[in-house]
């Protein structure tokens, strides 16, 4: 009888230990509050952690603006970094992110009334930014520039914001308030540990196979990024994206498109500076330039930083060097490049025809 009691007691204590010990490390169900401005689930003022690549936090302010926790002053000149998880910066402390460093760099340069802020969240792409630029028009006073950071994944037809259905068609990218109340309870009581267990169990049950092998080779998926489009379809898609950005620039102010490649990268022991899908990115940037949008390419800046310091701009000590999100170095390069560009191009140039790096 005592043994049975020990086992029940052991299970209860271990469960409590798992919940109490891990709730500081894992938060899978953050952002439970619907925000009307961001049209997204945000948790203003709350720090949260993610445990997938490493540990860090994001410090959202009201309405999901990063770096503007105490409110935005009309006296400050705001530069907004638009992006996805790179700009959101899970693994980098808020003070070392590109938007915070931008403020610091401008302050060091004697330009005290500049403030870098960000509107960013994991999974967003260019289509999301176009829609959100409209939503945030009134939220960010005295906006001097919108820096839209993108990589190739953000301009790929992926079925999230702009789909190809014969021709490119917008679909609403922003989320809708449809979160289940059970998930909110999980978030409120920080029961993320059990949420992860539930997710893993569901995934294991879904992948369950009872029949003996061998298993047939998996059929390649035909959804999202795997779909191959013709050159004409891609060009139409990019034109639609660029048109959306041009329309938004007329209302929200200056937009600067900043391409951030995943280089330099270690591949099979060799340092690779080759940008995947460079040809497509160049085409997209040319389409942007043709419409008068400014573009900046960070490839040289990332590679130069590595050549000068021997440090990668991607990856963390607990993940893989040169792979994954920007580390502190990456954020520094982005902030520095953004400042250099704005210094050399204080106003929007009249005519552009080539993508360029900040030093050009």
């Amino acid at each position: 009888m005592r043994t049975v009691y020990y086992w029940i007691q052991g299970f209860v204590i271990a469960t409590l230990l798992a919940w109490f010990g891990l709730r500081g490390f894992i938060s899978e169900t953050s952002n439970p509050k619907w925000n009307e401005v961001a049209k997204d689930y945000l948790e203003p003022g709350k720090r949260y952690c993610r445990g997938e690549e490493g540990y860090g936090w994001v410090d959202f302010s009201n309405n999901g603006i990063l770096g503007g926790k105490d409110g935005l002053s009309k006296d400050d000149r705001h530069v907004v970094f638009w992006g996805d998880s790179f700009v959101e910066a899970y693994q980098v402390t808020p003070s070392a992110t590109c938007y915070s460093l931008f403020t610091q760099i401008t302050s060091d340069a004697g330009q005290d009334n500049y403030q870098g802020v960000a509107v960013a969240k994991s999974g967003r792409d260019l289509g999301h930014h176009i829609e959100l630029l409209a939503l945030y028009e009134d939220q960010i006073p005295n906006c001097k520039a919108n820096l839209v950071l993108f990589d190739y994944a953000d301009i790929t037809p992926n079925g999230r914001s702009l789909i190809i259905d014969g021709e490119p068609v917008w679909k609403h990218a922003v989320a809708k308030p449809s979160m289940l109340s059970a998930r909110q309870i999980i978030a409120d009581y920080q029961l993320d540990v059990f949420w992860i267990l539930a997710k893993r169990t569901i995934s294991a049950v879904k992948g369950l196979r009872l029949r003996p092998g061998p298993v047939a080779p998996a059929v390649p998926s035909t959804s999202g990024n795997d779909v191959k489009y013709t050159q004409d379809e891609l060009v139409q898609f990019w034109q639609k994206l660029a048109d959306g950005l041009v329309d938004q620039e007329a209302r929200s102010g200056r937009i600067i498109m900043i391409f951030h490649p995943r280089v330099p990268q270690l591949i099979d022991g060799e340092l690779s500076t080759e940008v995947a899908d460079r040809e497509h990115v160049t085409q997209f940037m040319q389409i942007c330039n043709d419409r008068g949008l400014e573009t900046v390419d960070l490839t040289d800046d990332f590679v130069d930083y590595y050549n000068e310091t021997g440090l990668f701009v991607h990856g963390f000590s607990n993940t893989f060097p040169s792979r994954g999100h920007w580390n502190v170095n990456g954020h520094r390069v982005v902030a520095t490049t953004a400042w250099n560009y704005l210094q050399t191009h204080p106003e929007k140039p009249r005519h552009r025809d080539q993508p360029r790096s900040a030093t050009q």
Partner: protein
Amino acid sequence: MIFSQFIFVLFISVVFSFLVLVRHNRARKLFLLAASYYFYAYWDWRFCGLLLLSTIVDFWIGHALKRTDNERSRTCLLLISLAVNLGMLGFFKYYGFFVESMQTMLSPLGWNLSSLGIILPVGISFYTFQTLSYTIDVYRRKLDVCEDIFDFALFVSFFPQLVAGPIVRASEFLPQLNEYRPLTGTRFFLGFRQFTFGLVKKVLIADHLAMVVDFSFENAGAMDGISTWVGAICYTGQIYCDFSGYSDMAIGIARGMGYDFCPNFNHPFAGNSLTTHWRRWHISLSTWLRDYLYIPLGGNRKGKIRTYINLLLTMLLGGLWHGAAWRFVAWGAIHGSALALEKRFDIHTRIDQGSTLNKFFGWAYMMLVVVIAFVFFRAESFGQAIIIIKHMFDPTTFFTGTHWVPLRAVLCLMFIAATHAISMTRFRHVVELKPDRWYTPVLLFTMIYLVLIFQPTSFKPFIYFQF
């Protein structure tokens, strides 16, 4: 089917439920036999035929050996068994290697040999050695012939140890099948505890170290010397936790069902010479090689030189058993040469009787040999292994290149070091987690929570499945 997969949880639940409900020994054995074949067929049902062939051939040869006293006939029967078992192993495991090696030699003459693209049946090296041990023991008249083909088939295919050992001898397992083995609470606890320890080693340690090792070896040459050393040491830790974790799980499952296997690992890095290391590492293989290869070759009975040659030969073949590639032969050669040198200069005894400092140097030398030899074991090619070893010892590249010593590697290595250190102290009984302590279930359940939450997202099969 992998022990750490969800399908296995369902599978083992059905097996244990049956064993609890049914007390008829023969029914239980037949059920376990069917379950074992299902377990094996889960990978590829076509290879069940090989398992069956090996079973029928060795069962028949065992009976034929019993029926005859003619030494010539007996030798012939043994040779048939060796030919069939080693022939299967040779064809499936070494044909590609043979063709590749021949191709290298014959290509200057303009000859081309084609490879058949043969898939290696999982566990073939393990069950081949098991069945061989049965036939050889019967031939040597050290073991009674198994009278029941279903018992023998269960011995060959028993699912806990079927695909990656430990290599169980017939003399150890077959007698356990003769009697009903009740599934008691204590046995279940002991099995569950050992299984959990194995699961922690595999999922929390080995799989996390694998991420470090994979990157480190993939980018060999670009990492600095320190990081290269860390990658090599991490692989030593990974293969230990991966394989001893599997062994723990296998032994735990069998124990829970009422069957006992001998331990396969005993803190192998706690020794201070290679001799002691090999007494603690993959014990079922090292004793198999000793009994069925080293001693038949003459062991240490035919003079010093022959002893050294026998040691080297045994380790070379042990290396080749692991995989059909020259880098495994190199791994065996390093261990064989080092063991021969230890024997020649009586290093093991000198270290054992020496001061604490001697023992420390002995431990450092043992670790150095083990880590370097494992570089050959893990590398994709002989050339990559040489690049890595050059980086480990070249002072000019020691601080140049990408530096990467992730925290997870440090934590995992500290865990391995701590378990080995504790095993040498009087506190080792505390960490055994006795069943009558209140904290035992707490710690076991906590370990399971940690495994479930911190398991890496990418799926990692056991390293020894490829052997």
